[in-house]
């Protein structure tokens, strides 16, 4: 172990001791001589257990304070003079100059530019004082030594300039490479992350290690308000000041000029970086510089802004990717549960309808005119048949409601004239309407409407069945359709008992029945289903009582945008009479 090695280790240990907080000192660069670097590293890792130890080309001496480095430069010159002094008799003066120039090169390489300049002057002074006759004097006997001094100084200065420049270039390149490698490893770590927590964790770790800062993620929560994202789920201790919160939300919302923003604080610099994803801003990265300032003379903490901006964009991409993965998983899950629900419902539907079909059909056979049963028994069979049909209606409504309540019901919207659905509905409830004639009042030139015919038929069937249920025999039921500005207004009205007073606001609620304990069958689902279907069509439905008695349900459906029907070419008289 050489003296210089021991010095390096001592200096490093002293540095660790001086900085006091081993957690904050994350890295010590161990310089040359390379031969002894291993030992130094070992000594260092022993002294500073928590600190990472990196072998780096920049000399550790560079991190010493400027006055100390100046002293070291002078000491190096003095050492050279001391080494050359005993050889003064045997060594030619020209070679002594070479020794001093070598010293200047070494100082430039290890201590820096200003130290090298100082060493250049000191070398010339020492050379003049100790070696140029008359010795131990600044006086010069031969004037030609002035040329030697001038050339020596010029060469020393030039060399120190070149060496120091080369050195700092190398250092920069190494630092850049290190940063690139670190960023690459961060990118790799982020690429493997599957949850926002992982992204946050990796990024915070990286910034702490490589950018000398403490990072915090502000991610949008409910209602787009920024919240501190904490990995452990607990409330974050690091509360933000009002200024920071306002600045963060300004950074988050300024979509056009996405730029990072600096906030000065008494204990160091804060940096707010937008996490700009490709589709939107994903949040804000808040970085506080590690405060390494213990005395006012220490340099203020700084942050490597370009590096942090690169980190922020990596984190933003990772957050965005994680977000889209989540979205994809959610929609896949939704599709699966939708499929399961629909197959479950159709299985139930099939299993209930099969025995109902048998019940209905068998009772209908018994009730038929060709049946050999006496009239009273046939009446019983008819009652069984009718009750089976009621049961079927209820099951259909319950299943429809289950489908509608399950969430998104896919609508098969097709442009069609409303009268077609009206006609089909009247036909479908034909038996129920036997005692009540239906009048259809259609305004001329009704526009096409985009509706799901099957669902809209359910609505009209429900309304017609209700109307028939509450109408006295023979009373007319009216269906009317007309245009009202951009709407198609459809109404079903009867001359029955009407809605009970006070119940109107609630008639479309689930399980609401016109009259409590009413002898009229029905579970009150019909109107709720009707409302769900009409609202799915972006329409509205309301109920009222008519003047002179009876109920009226009005539906409004949006119109407009119907496709054109091309007029027929050659609309000639070919099919008509000549």
């Amino acid at each position: 172990m050489t003296t210089s090695d021991r010095i390096t280790a001592d200096v490093a240990s002293a540095t660790i001791g001086h900085r006091a907080d081993p957690c904050r000192l994350h890295r010590i660069y161990v310089g040359r001589p390379r031969l002894f670097a291993n030992f130094t590293e070992r000594a260092l890792s022993f002294d500073a257990r928590t600190a990472d130890c990196f072998r780096m080309t920049p000399a550790p001496i560079r991190s010493l304070s400027a006055p100390l480095r100046h002293l070291l430069a002078l000491a190096a010159c003095a050492l050279t003079a001391a080494v050359a002094w005993p050889l003064h008799g045997t060594l030619d003066l020209a070679n002594t100059v070479m020794l001093f120039l070598l010293t200047v090169v070494l100082v430039a390489a290890f201590l820096g530019r200003t130290q090298a300049i100082l060493a250049s002057f000191a070398s010339v002074a020492l050379f003049d004082f100790f070696f140029v006759p008359p010795q131990i004097s600044f006086a010069v006997s031969d004037a030609q030594y002035l040329v030697t001094f001038a050339v020596m100084l010029a060469v020393a200065l030039f060399i120190s300039h070149l060496t120091a420049g080369l050195k700092s270039g190398t250092d920069e390149a190494i630092a850049r490479e290190r940063r690139t490698r670190a960023l690459y490893s961060l990118a790799k770590a982020l690429a493997g992350s599957v949850a926002p927590a992982q992204v946050v964790e990796e990024t915070v770790k990286f910034i702490a290690q490589h950018a000398g800062g403490q990072a915090m993620f502000l991610l949008p929560g409910d209602h787009e308000t920024l919240q501190v994202f904490s990995i452990d789920g607990g409330p974050s201790a690091a509360a933000l000041t009002m200024t920071e919160q306002l600045s963060a939300s300004a950074v988050f919302h300024s979509r056009e000029t996405i730029a990072s923003r600096e906030i000065g604080a008494s204990d160091g610099l804060r940096l707010l970086l937008p996490l700009a994803g490709s589709t939107r801003c994903r949040g804000v990265l808040h970085v506080t510089a590690h405060s390494s300032r213990h005395t006012p003379t220490d340099p203020p903490a700084t942050l490597d802004r370009p590096l942090l901006e690169a980190v922020a964009s990596l984190a933003a991409i990772a957050l965005e990717r994680v977000h889209f993965v989540e979205v994809a998983q959610c929609s896949q899950l939704e599709t699966q549960s939708e499929r399961l629900r629909s197959s479950l419902l159709s299985a139930i539907s099939h299993d209930i309808r099969t025995p109902l079909t048998a019940l209905y059909g068998l009772a209908d056979s018994l009730a038929g005119t060709t049946s050999a049963l006496p009239e009273s028994e046939r009446e019983t069979a008819r009652a069984i048949r009718d009750q089976a049909m009621h049961l079927h209606g209820m099951v259909t409504n319950l299943l429809d409601m289950a489908r509608l309540q399950a969430g998104k019901m896919p609508l098969r919207l097709e442009w069609q004239p409303i009268e077609e659905v009206i006609g089909a509905s009247i036909r479908a409830v034909g038996l129920t309407l036997r005692g009540n004639p239906v009048r259809v009042e259609l305004a001329p030139d009704l526009p096409l409407v985009a509706i799901d015919a099957v669902l809209m038929e359910r609505v009209l069937c429900n309304l017609l069945e209700n109307a028939a249920k509450f109408s006295p025999p023979g009373a007319e039921i009216t269906i009317a359709a007309a245009t009202e500005q951009h709407w198609l207004a459809l109404s079903v009205s009867d001359r029955g008992s009407g809605f009970p007073p006070g119940s109107l606001p609630r008639v479309f609620d689930l399980f609401e029945r016109g009259a409590r304990e009413s002898p009229v069958a029905g579970v009150g689902l019909g109107l709720a289903i009707s409302r769900a279907i009409v609202e799915a069509h972006a329409g509205s439905i309301d109920a009222s009582n008519r003047d002179g008695g009876g109920a009226c349900v009005r539906i409004r459906l949006p119109t407009g945008g119907a496709p054109d029907i091309e007029p027929e070419a050659g609309d000639g008289p070919e099919a008509g009479p000549a």
Partner: protein, 231 residues
């Protein structure tokens, strides 16, 4: 099929009680009824009995009713009446596209069953309507040879497409025609998704030929599926 020999009907349905009342109803009408409860057995019965009509449930234990229709259509044009417990219109459309002629949604009454059966069997019989190019329904008379349509004696003007649509529906009377099928037949394959054309033209035919276009008796809407013309 000559007059006097009873028509034979094959019922393919896995629920025994449904088979029972269907059989009773059809036998009272004078038909001979054969039963099957699976697709495989149904196809064997169809091959050996050569029925005049098949009543078919769509949800059979060993397969889908549509498979049965496709297999049957490979060698037979026997009319098929689907008895479907499914509420999904797509299942009905699939069955009709596979070659079924009509469908009944469960639960159905004996009356409906017999009416549909009669309509389908009538199509088999070479009736006077086909011997003579004159079709009548309600007040309307259509002379297919002269391409003339009259209503209560007065001439009715139909456009080329309206007339073509009418002819396609007339020649498939009693049968459910899907939207897609009608669009292809009348407008051509390029229009097979333009259902609004079909709906508007059916509406025009109703206004010209029906007594009450809002409650049509002949140009019947099969909601979500297509149309049926009935005399």
């Amino acid at each position: 099929m000559s007059i006097g020999t009873p028509t034979s009907i094959l019922v393919v349905e896995d629920e025994q009680q449904i088979r029972r009342f269907v059989r009773q109803a059809l036998e009272r009408e004078g038909h001979r009824v054969f039963e099957a409860d699976t697709v495989a057995q149904g196809l064997i019965e169809a091959g050996t009995r050569k029925p005049d009509l098949v009543g078919l449930d769509l949800g059979l234990p060993d397969g889908d009713g549509a498979q049965f229709i496709l297999a049957l259509r490979a060698w037979s044009s026997t009319p098929v009446l689907v008895l479907s417990a499914r509420s999904s219109e797509q299942d009905k459309i699939d069955a009709l596209d596979a070659g079924a002629d009509d469908y009944l949604t469960k639960p159905f009454s004996v009356g409906e069953l017999l009416a549909r059966t009669r309509a389908l069997l009538r199509r088999l019989r070479p009736g006077p309507a086909q011997a003579e190019p004159l079709v009548r329904f309600g007040e309307v008379a259509i002379d297919l040879a002269r391409r003339q349509v009259t209503r209560a004696g007065a001439a009715v003007h139909l456009t080329a497409i309206e007339y073509q649509l009418l002819v396609v529906m007339l020649s498939n009377a009693g049968k459910v025609l899907t939207h897609r099928h009608l669009l292809r037949e009348v407008w051509g394959p390029a229009y097979s998704d333009s259902t609004h054309y079909l709906r508007v033209y059916v509406g025009r035919l109703r206004r010209k030929l029906e007594v009450d276009p809002a409650q049509p008796r002949h140009f019947v809407t099969e909601i979500g599926v297509g149309y049926r013309f009935q005399l």
